[in-house]
Amino acid sequence: MRKIYKLTFAVIAVVTSTFTAFSSPVIDKPAPTFSGIDTNGAKISLADFAGKPVILEWTNHECPYVQKHYNSGNMQSLQRELTEAGVTWISIISSAVGMQGHVSAEQANRLTTERGAYANFVLLDENGDIGRLYNAKTTPEMFLIDEQGVLRYMGAIDDKPSAQPKSLKGAHNYVRSAWTAFSTQTEITPTATKPYGCSVKYAH
């Protein structure tokens, strides 16, 4: 009989494990929920911002593509515009310890001040859990989540996959256009684009 019990547990374990890790970001579906510690030591989770639209921005200050958007002030102006319109902006750093872009909480806060960033929170995700949850692949990579927690846009920040600042001129900013469409209740197009840039520096 004992063997049978063992078998039962094995079967149940197999059945249940199949369905647990099944959340990945899908447009028009609830965005995967996460929680993490921000650079001021506060625990924040996506559920805290129910009722407010949220932007997730994957970043790595040493990545030339991120630098294009920050050194030109392009990212900051988008952050300012959207946060003033009521968006909660969360920058996420998924670089693992020892990898490019990995920072301490103090360094991250210093970067925010120096660069004049308008992010509401900067999350340190050095074990890459949130990054993997969202299949974040590049920096920069952007996600727009609406008040109901539904994912509305994911992908590149704009349509110019270049590291040169001059490429910003005439670039079509997908996040801004998604936000404009969303706030005027018109259809967001495109809802998903291929992100470009440096790879997210997950632990190997």
């Binding site: 197999v14 369905f19 028009d28 050194n71 210093r110 270049s162 998903a192 470009y196 520096k201």
Partner: protein, 694 residues
């Protein structure tokens, strides 16, 4: 920090722009960057009006650094080349060498570990009469190790007119570059995109190529696959089939383009360019434009009720019958067992059924999450499973005949009264009942299963538990009935005879399984299966009759090699055609849409050779003259969807109606885009009724 990074950024810009060159001849440009070198060559000496010349752009990254293919995969950037030249000069898109995989942590990139040369056609118009051609190239390419350094700049160079003869000094460069280009593929292909996976089928004849050891597809198109996920490839009846994991919700392309890599047994890698039209199967609802009735929204209590009653009715279906005869045997012996023992056995039987349902459903869910379009009864689509089940049936029969005694508890009815054995036997009977029950679908069961398989795990467990309890319920109740036990005759020699007699229904089940096996794996495999029956029987007999160690070793070797042989020969055979009887056409989504657009009446039956309920329905209802005449008189086209072997198209259609198995019958009345679903059990009257009243 900020000052430093700004300074560094400035230095980059200076280093990149500070280099500009004017060159003649064929070496148009060579640039040394911080992390890579870049060179531009021209294949010919000078240009000629009205001709197409080739330029090459060669990137050489530093050791351990890499550059990218046109699709960089998960992260990175495509090399960008912007050419400006006077009117009359046209640059075509660059041809990229076949890419390599570059894994970066959990991500996958496509690119080049070392030198790579892009080829660019330069078209000179007929009326271009200038003596010199001034060209500006703005280029940006990304070089990465783990961290990434973009390299970019702007360069000018001039080409003179000339005799446009091939320049011998760059012959090797161009020859090597051309050798690394993927070849155009001469095979046709088709691709299907599902929500969680996609499939690429290439109509290749395996004999056209050396033996292939690996196949890998580099898509140029987005939305085809997860770059970092493993790719599966196999040969099937149409040729080479590749299956990919896909990101749910990503854009569905209309055409898939990319490069297929085939590694051959002699260590060679072949690359082919592919372009394949996509069949979009992401919206199961839209696979039949006929807005199917989806029963998925039934409340849970209804699904549970359906499952319990479906399970009870399952006891009456033909496939469970032989096993029930075993169970009846145990009941007959109930008279001399204690009440507690009887009840315990009832529960052991229930438990055996439940465990088997959970095992099957667990495997089903696992395989589905791996992307297989399978449904209820999927295990019977595997010839190996059918073969093993047939072997099991024959072994049980031989045991009942008394050739040997496997301690299955079946003989517990006779001399072996130990309650422990009785319990194991009951458990085993439960397992057996479930195994043979899956090919049968009872009324009420199909909607319940269809519903369950779209639900989260705990609901699946609940519904299938209800089904298991339903199947076990009659015997469980009987085990609690004292009256029934007292009705049974006293044990005696007659029991041995009854036991032997019950071996025959088991053999009948084996005959059915051999029939299915023959259709799936072909006659050669069937002959081997029959041989295996005998060898396994013989080895068990050897084990039983002799106590010598040597003989036991021989028996085990015989047994193992039999099972190994069975494993080896049990492969789907595609050369033999499935049994044909009635006038029908083969089902395909396209054929159905075509018929519906012509406003024709269509009857579709989904069936499988292993599905006894289907076969019975066909025999007693669909294939009868009465029904066939009704089809003809009403101008109804009959389509047959054969699910004997795995078939994604059929799996998707079933899913769109909330079903996970066969039998399944659909009727589209003339001019109707909406189908009527027929019951699982058919009589000629039922079918004709549906055909005429709709």
């Amino acid at each position: 920090m900020a000052v430093f990074s700004k300074l560094r950024f400035l230095l980059y810009i200076i280093s990149f722009f500070g280099f500009s060159t004017i060159a003649q001849a064929t070496n148009l440009l060579s640039y040394t960057g911080s992390h890579s070198n870049m060179a531009v060559h021209m294949e010919t000496q000078g240009f000629k009006a009205g001709q197409t010349h080739w330029l090459s752009v060669t990137f050489t990254p530093k050791d351990e650094w890499h550059t990218y293919w046109k699709n960089y995969g998960d992260s990175g950037a495509t090399p960008m080349l912007n050419w400006s030249a006077p009117d009359g000069i046209n640059f075509g898109s660059p041809l990229f060498p076949a890419p390599e995989v570059i894994p970066v942590g959990p991500l996958m990139n496509y690119g080049y570990h070392s030198i790579s040369t892009l080829l660019i056609p330069l078209k000179v118009a007929k009326n271009f009469h200038e003596a010199k051609l001034n060209i500006t190239l703005q280029a940006e390419w990304l070089v990465c190790k783990v961290e990434c350094i973009p390299q970019y700049g702007e360069w000018q160079f001039t080409i003179d007119t000339g005799n446009a003869s091939l320049d011998p000094t760059v012959k090797d460069t161009f020859e090597e570059a051309r050798n690394r280009l993927p070849e155009p593929s001469y095979w046709s292909s088709k691709s299907t995109i599902y929500n969680e996976n996609s499939r690429l089928n290439l109509f290749i004849n395996p004999e056209d190529l050396n033996e292939i050891t690996n196949a890998y597809f580099f898509p140029e198109t987005e939305g085809v696959l997860k770059y970092a996920a493993e790719q599966e490839w196999r040969w099937d009846q149409d040729g080479l089939s590749l299956t990919f994991e896909r990101t749910v919700g990503s854009i569905v392309p209309e055409i898939i383009e990319g490069v297929l890599q085939l590694d051959t047994i002699d260590g060679e890698s072949l690359y082919f360019e592919l372009s394949s039209k996509v069949n979009d199967a992401t919206k199961a609802e839209s696979t039949t434009n006929s807005s199917p009735i989806i029963n998925l929204s039934m409340p849970l209590w209804k699904a549970l009720l359906f499952a319990i009653f479906g399970g009870i009715i399952l006891n009456l279906m033909p496939c469970v019958f032989p096993v029930l005869s075993l169970k009846a045997m145990a009941l007959v012996s109930a008279n001399y067992k204690s009440k507690t023992d009887r009840q315990l056995e009832g529960w052991a039987y229930t438990f055996g059924i439940w465990i088997s349902f959970m095992a099957i459903v667990g495997a089903l869910v696992l395989l589905r999450s791996g992307g297989a379009a399978i449904g209820w009864g999927f295990q019977l689509q595997s010839p190996l499973f059918i073969g093993l089940l047939a072997v099991l049936m024959v072994m049980v029969a031989l045991s009942l005949f008394g050739v040997y005694h496997i301690q299955l508890g079946i003989e517990g009815a006779g001399q072996n009264l130990a309650s422990q054995k009785g319990l194991q036997g009951s458990f085993f009977k439960g397992v057996l009942a479930t195994l043979v029950a899956t090919p049968c679908t009872a009324p009420l069961m199909a909607p319940a299963i269809g519903y369950a398989l779209t639900q989260p795990t705990h609901i699946i467990i609940l519904v299938f538990s209800a089904l298991a309890i339903g199947l076990a319920l009659p015997f469980l109740l009987l085990s609690y009935s004292d009256k029934m036990a007292s009705l049974m005759p006293r044990p005696g020699a007659w029991m041995e005879k009854l036991k032997q007699g019950l071996g025959f229904p088991m053999l009948l089940t084996a005959v059915w399984l051999v029939y299915v096996y023959n259709l799936q794996a072909g006659s050669t495999a069937t002959a081997i299966l029959l041989g295996i029956f005998i060898i396994i029987g013989f080895s068990l007999w050897l084990w039983q009759e002799f106590s010598s160690k040597t003989v036991h070793v021989i028996a085990i070797v015989l047994l193992l090699s039999s099972f190994y042989t069975l494993y080896e020969v049990s492969r789907p055979d595609t050369s033999s055609k499935m049994g044909e009887s009635s006038n029908h056409q083969t089902f395909s989504e396209n054929r159905l849409q075509e018929l519906l657009s012509k406003e024709e009446a269509v009857f579709i039956y989904f069936t499988a050779e292993w599905c006894i309920t289907c076969k019975v329905n066909e025999r007693v209802a669909l294939d009868t003259d009465k029904v066939q005449n009704a089809f003809r008189d009403n101008n109804i086209t009959v389509l047959k969807g054969d699910w004997t072997n795995r078939n994604d198209e059929i799996g998707n259609v079933l899913a769109s109606y909330g079903r996970a198995g066969v039998p399944f019958y659909l009727y589209f009345a003339k001019g109707e885009k909406k189908a009527t679903i027929l019951p699982e059990i058919l009589t000629p009257e039922i079918v004709i009724d549906y055909l005429t009243t709709q």
